[in-house]
Symmetry: C2
Subunit: 332 residues, 2 copies
Amino acid sequence: MTTAQIVLASRPKGLPVTDNFRMEQVDLPQINDGEILLKGLYYSVDPYMRGRMNDAKSYAPPFEIDQPIYGGVIGKVVESKSELHQPGDVVVGNFPWRRDFIVNEKEARKIDASLAPASYYLGILGMTGLTAYFGLMHIGKPKAGETVVVSGAAGAVGAVVGQIAKIQGCHVVGIAGSEEKVQLLITEFGFDKAINYNTTHDITKAIADACPNGVDVYFDNVGGEISDAVINNINFYARIPLCGQIALYNTTEIPVGPRLQPMLLTRSVLMQGFIIGQFQAQFQEGIEHLAKWVKEGKLKAHETIEHGFENLPKALLGLFKGNNTGKMLVEA
Amino acid sequence: MTTAQIVLASRPKGLPVTDNFRMEQVDLPQINDGEILLKGLYYSVDPYMRGRMNDAKSYAPPFEIDQPIYGGVIGKVVESKSELHQPGDVVVGNFPWRRDFIVNEKEARKIDASLAPASYYLGILGMTGLTAYFGLMHIGKPKAGETVVVSGAAGAVGAVVGQIAKIQGCHVVGIAGSEEKVQLLITEFGFDKAINYNTTHDITKAIADACPNGVDVYFDNVGGEISDAVINNINFYARIPLCGQIALYNTTEIPVGPRLQPMLLTRSVLMQGFIIGQFQAQFQEGIEHLAKWVKEGKLKAHETIEHGFENLPKALLGLFKGNNTGKMLVEA
């Protein structure tokens, strides 16, 4: 059979464009013993994918030119030569951007689509939720009564971080880029305060006003000048989990800014970059907490779903324009 | 009786000068019950004192204008109205820059000058040694076979850090500012490699050459461009204890440099500012290790001792010119 796939056609300089991708037809072989044939249902698009489009040393190897993009995908088993999976099962894994694809039985993890919508396993019960959980709880270590600031707060990870921080009893302040997002943070996700960086002249002062006791945990999804403004308000012994630097991903020069070390030193601050993989041994703990909070109604999923496999590149590019609130997905 | 004291006459802008200090005579009162009269033997000068000369929020309150500088001092008990201290005892504490001074009995800790020279209690068995020990062992967490880079390596803390890292079985590289210091690091303190930043054109490359397996722990005493060069070579999951930023202490503008967060993020690096006070509950552990290593001859003290109480300001200013190797002290 043939199917469609989306490959990396060229490496972007600065902001990616649709020409960096190419959709094409590809032949699929017969499936062998131990393999399953899947039909893609939901495809995740995530900011970290921008890094993999570069040919640079990072935590994940670069995507290869003329090869399909890979990412989190929910698929339905169409044909199985595996005892682990039956036709009709719904599974999740790190799969290629193909409409149909064959994977080894061990690469697919079955999900319980009766417990929660299948798409949640790419978001709040998947890497997104786990990234928020481990970054906040294991690096940020918020204590009840402390102040937690989240940048990119209306994004997939940010919205979960803020909700978990509220569950921990913290004063939670979000930073986002539109009035609509700011309203969503307050009304939907229960943030105490939210700041629209696009209409705020002095972000340092806005943070100070929103955080009368200073900032104890800064969960950084964006980097750049927004982070400078938060760090101007950082408390002694604060923790800064570095989860994303989306403000800098598309710069072509080495970004320059105020040196942080004097502030980190004089206030005994911890800053730590992390990837979710380093917490793999503890995933079960994270999933149990997240599932419990979702079930109790304390943690809300919020998704922006684009439709059409062919719109995957457009959806990914939309992340860098702030088009999404919550988790951004494509339904095939 | 009257004695001499050295006060902060004015706050420096940029590099401190001798005019920022003033020596003057002061009357001492009679000593009361629970107090002791001390004669100063050794006075510590430390880079952190520069921060206290500013009127700025930091981990230690600012020195006050027209009031004596305070710091680590070894004194001999001259007169005692305390049951805890006898005349002739040698004690250490955070005392004023006075030739003679009266303190409460609880502010002074008796030292055993038969175990090690009294001056060691301001250095390798005092705050200097503890700073090196906790910063390296509790934040840097070096494992045998890893590579540890130390900047300000010939300074008081740096020389101890390098030696402890060797005791842990690491490949140890020091950065210092003269050929004499570089030689000292190799021959006296057992560093594997040492780099003279004043004669090295491309420090990033020099670090790469000296660290063929990259940098796992960077103990940062200096900040600025030297640190940028080390961080260019940082490994995945590296740890960066921030101990000092002497390169930036005398700048009057907010220092600017390459943004660190993208590198910390993509390589899952931890960076942590610390002050020795946060490890106070564990001091005993540190002192026991340091004393054992000194006794075994594995850890060598190195002191630069200036003479004359009146030379304290000059000795402090000398730190910023790199005049010292190892711990800088003034013997009264």
